[in-house]
């Protein structure tokens, strides 16, 4: 593979839709920044001295083999790692110019500004309306809830499919619809950042492609950080890509086109071309 020319795309998928290129061209502020971040599970190091800046209103993909720490990194941003008792975090994660691991940060208040979508769709066993309105309810939102529910479902490209059955259970929807419901739930309280932990890996290809289209639209308003196993997906939807490799090391972080067409590191090239991982 050493003789691959730089203009050959390393994988077969077309890199980037054109609209994303427009976004990439414009300069953007920083939404989230990690500085010398180390994370340990007991004695085991999951993230090794990661420093990176994630631009706002862009899609940033985190890719890498299993166990490379990309999901751990994602969970550091909204401090969901706090739930894991043996987890220890060292270093800074800045969000809106504030280190989220400072003593005066309430993780619950932090999570209200950051939406999260999980690998397996996990709608609550409640009606579709109550699912979307959940964040509003717990945050004591005192505006028009129905209007916000409609906006969020439209934002998650689900409104047309469910507008006549808002009172039926969220569990009655298909897997792909459930995942979009979870996205609607995440955007309803109007967060600044949306974290997605392999949001399409439990879905069939058609449902997955709908989610991918949706992610593209979401980046108009939100900063999206997505963990994915699927390199084609990262290439299709992201503006920036970070490659983590075993041991929690951030090996390369650059514009998506650069990573997939002309990576600096041999290890990244090997990973992307499927030599390992």
């Amino acid at each position: 593979m050493s003789n691959t020319t730089s203009d050959d795309s390393l994988i077969t998928t077309e890199v980037q839709a054109d609209s994303n290129d427009d976004r990439a061209a414009a300069a953007a502020g920083t939404a989230v920044a990690a500085r010398n971040l180390n994370v340990y599970y007991g004695d085991e190091q999951a993230i090794d001295d990661v420093t990176m800046e994630i631009p706002e209103k862009r899609v940033t993909a985190l890719i890498g083999p299993s166990g490379c720490g990309k999901s751990t990194f994602l969970r550091c941003i909204n401090r969901m790692n706090d739930m894991i008792e043996i987890c220890r975090v060292d270093g800074d994660v800045e969000f809106g110019g504030k280190n989220v691991y400072d003593a005066d940060v309430d993780p619950v208040a932090l999570r209200r500004k950051i939406g999260m979508v999980f690998q397996k769709p996990n709608p609550f066993p409640k009606s579709i309306r109550d699912n979307v309105a959940y964040g509003l309810k717990i945050q004591g939102f005192d505006g028009d809830v129905d209007e916000r529910v409609e906006e969020s479902l439209k934002g998650a490209a689900l409104w047309d499919e469910v507008k006549d059955q808002l009172d039926s259970s969220g569990l009655e929807l298909s897997g792909g619809q459930q995942q979009r419901l979870c996205i609607a739930r995440a955007i309803a309280p109007d967060p600044e950042v949306i974290l997605m932990d392999e949001p399409t890996s439990a879905l069939d290809p058609v449902a997955a492609s709908k989610i991918e289209d949706l992610i593209d639209d979401l980046a108009e308003e939100y900063t999206v950080i997505i963990v994915t196993h699927n390199m084609q997906q990262a290439a299709r939807i992201s503006d920036r890509t970070a490659v983590f490799l075993t041991g929690g090391e951030l090996v390369e972080y650059d514009d998506t086109a650069k990573i997939f067409e002309d990576p600096e590191e041999q290890r990244v090239e090997d990973y992307i071309t499927g030599k390992f991982g």
């Binding site: 932090l110 999570r111 939406g115 999260m116 996990n122 709608p123 964040g135």
Partner: protein, 588 residues
């Protein structure tokens, strides 16, 4: 070709003997247990209803006027030719088989005491076929409507009687003040807040309710004159129930129907209450029963009428009522000997007596209902609270985690402590140390709550643990506090499981005798308890006492009637709880 030869005789055989033996042994053991229990219950029922003295003509009359129309209704509802053929086959074939077998056993083996082949047919064939057809029939639209209506009628009567019983003990005057000053304003505030979507009004509802309750307690002894019990029940129970029924209907069928649904039962209940008081019946109880039966029935009928399906099912209660009346008239005209059941109206409403005919269970029923109501509230609240704490709030590691594990093991051990020991604890702690009194209802309720608490905790923990972690993480990631996650996601999802555990535990509590003996509950009281601190007896205590009486009528007739009453109340209670649980399951 070599392989062909090697497998010419198949692949050899693997022995399954042990598995098959195990399967049939377990099957046989369960069948034996069930049959033994069934035979016991049949004999108890025969004694309680004096069926041994029922003439075959009497049985035949009621079979034709009551059972046959019911079976026909179920078959009509199921409208399945196969089911009809099978049911008729079972009824007819069963008749021949039971009669032949019964005669043969009596002739060649030994006479069967207190049974004849007609009764045997009733219990062995007619009852199971009825149950099966009721099950199949309730699957059809007509049957579902019929059973739904019947359930609301029976349930309304039961709840009305239970509420009336509770007001014997809990001060209706205090409730009157608390309702007027606390509950009503709070609910009104909440409703207004919800309609105008102003959360402030909604959150204000709780303090308003609390202030009203405190005011009620303070004013209870200050205010000197109160309206009569009948007016109080009308204002605090009948009117809100009717209003709730009307609101349920209003959204669907418009105001006129809603006014009818709320107004008719309310008027009937008020009239019934006042008239009953004139005749000498307990007016307040009549009012409660009428309104709690009438409003749900009216709501149900209007819903069925709207849906327009299975209207014929509404005739089921009429069919059964007419059958019972027709049967009574025929028996009267025919002049055949009728049984004189021990379990009749006077048994349920009279106090215990020295003569078996006059003996009644009323004070013990009131005692049991009150205790069980308290135990249900206490053990549910404490059990859910403890299990939420153990499952959701305590960490898994560290010193606190170790402490939690120790607690955990001890809770499990407590479930195995004999009930007599709990009785001793209740005697020492509640009766003596806290001075709640020996043999009082409140001591008994606290003791029994403690007795079933470990079971409630363990089953609630199990239910909470079975809520997927995905849901918790989903809620946490939305920025919910742990309390919000528990309240909004974990508890609703775990509720069916928690209720199952509580129901089972309550079933145990209602039948307990040993701890009641230890805390000095009376074996027999002649007046129903009228406060939490009065002496009381419970149904199992009373039954146990009667079983030791020298007269045979007590040991067979009265005890059997008591046992059937206890079982019916238990089944009714569990049935209600199971309905609630199923509703919770469907809701999620």
């Amino acid at each position: 070709m070599a392989t062909d030869n090697a497998n010419a005789g198949g692949f050899g055989e693997v022995s399954r003997v042990r598995g098959i033996v195990f399967e049939y042994l377990s099957f046989g053991a369960s069948v034996f247990g069930l049959v033994a229990l069934g035979v016991l219950l049949v004999y108890v029922a025969i004694d309680a209803f004096d069926l041994a003295n029922a003439s075959p003509e009497w049985l035949l009359t009621y079979f034709l006027t009551l059972v046959v129309p019911f079976l026909a209704f179920c078959l009509y509802s199921a409208s399945d030719r196969d089911v009809t053929r099978r049911a008729l086959g079972a009824l007819g074939g069963g008749l021949v088989a039971v009669a032949a077998l019964f005669t043969a056993v009596e002739a060649f083996v030994a006479p069967i005491p207190r049974l004849n082949w007609q009764l045997a047919y009733l219990f062995v064939v007619a009852a199971p076929v009825s149950a099966y057809l009721a099950y199949v029939g309730s699957g059809g639209r007509v049957g579902a409507v019929g059973f739904g209506l019947l359930g609301r009628l029976v349930g309304g009567v039961a709840i009305g009687l239970a509420v009336g019983t509770l007001f014997l003990v809990f001060d209706p005057l205090l409730w009157f003040l608390a309702y007027t000053l606390g509950v009503l304003p709070a609910v009104g505030l909440y409703a207004v807040g919800r309609r105008r979507s102003t959360p402030r009004a909604q959150t204000a509802a709780v303090p308003v309710a609390l202030a009203g309750l405190i005011a009620a307690v303070v004013l209870r002894d200050v205010v000197a004159t109160y309206p009569s019990d009948l007016i109080i029940y009308l204002w605090t129970v009948a009117v809100p129930v009717a209003a709730a029924g009307g609101l349920l209907v209003a959204g669907r069928s418009g105001r006129t129907v809603a006014a009818l649904v709320a107004g008719l039962p309310l008027a009937a209940a008020a009239a019934g209450g006042f008239l009953a008081a004139g005749v000498g019946l307990p007016g307040p109880t009549v009012l409660l029963v009428l309104v709690l039966t009438g409003v749900p029935t009216a709501v149900y009928v209007s819903r069925v009428a709207d849906a327009g399906e299975g209207l014929a099912g509404l005739g089921l209660p009429l069919l059964l009522g007419a059958g019972a009346i027709a049967g009574a008239l025929i028996v009267e005209a025919w002049g055949v000997p009728a049984p004189d059941p021990w379990l009749d109206g006077s048994f349920l409403t009279a106090a215990p007596s020295r003569t078996p005919v006059e003996a009644g269970l009323y004070p013990a029923i009131v005692g049991s209902v009150i205790i069980i109501a308290l135990v249900a509230v206490l053990s549910f609240a404490l059990g859910v609270g403890t299990s939420v704490f153990l499952e959701e709030y305590t960490p898994e590691s560290g010193a606190l985690g170790t402490l939690t594990r120790i607690l955990q093991v001890n809770v499990a051990n407590l479930a195995a402590v004999p009930s007599v020991v709990y009785g001793l604890l209740g005697l020492g702690l509640f009766a003596n140390l806290l001075g709640l009194g020996i043999g009082t209802a409140v001591t008994a309720a606290l003791t029994l709550s403690l007795l079933i608490l470990p079971i409630t905790i363990i089953s609630a923990q199990e239910a909470i643990r079975s809520v997927p972690d995905d849901l918790r993480r989903g809620s946490d990631a939305m920025g919910a506090t742990r309390w919000q996650t528990t309240k909004n996601v974990v508890l609703p999802e775990a509720m069916p499981g928690i209720l199952t555990g509580t129901i089972l535990a309550l079933g145990r509590a209602i039948g307990e005798t040993a701890p009641l003996i230890m805390i000095g509950a009376a074996t027999t009281v002649f007046r129903a308890p009228d406060s939490l601190f009065s002496r009381f007896s419970a149904m199992p205590m009373q039954i146990y006492t009667w079983a030791g009486f020298p007269q045979a009528d007590f040991r067979y007739g009265v005890v059997a009637a008591g046992v059937i009453t206890l079982l019916l109340i238990l089944v009714g209670m569990n049935g209600t709880a199971i309905l609630l649980r199923n509703r919770a399951e469907r809701g999620s």
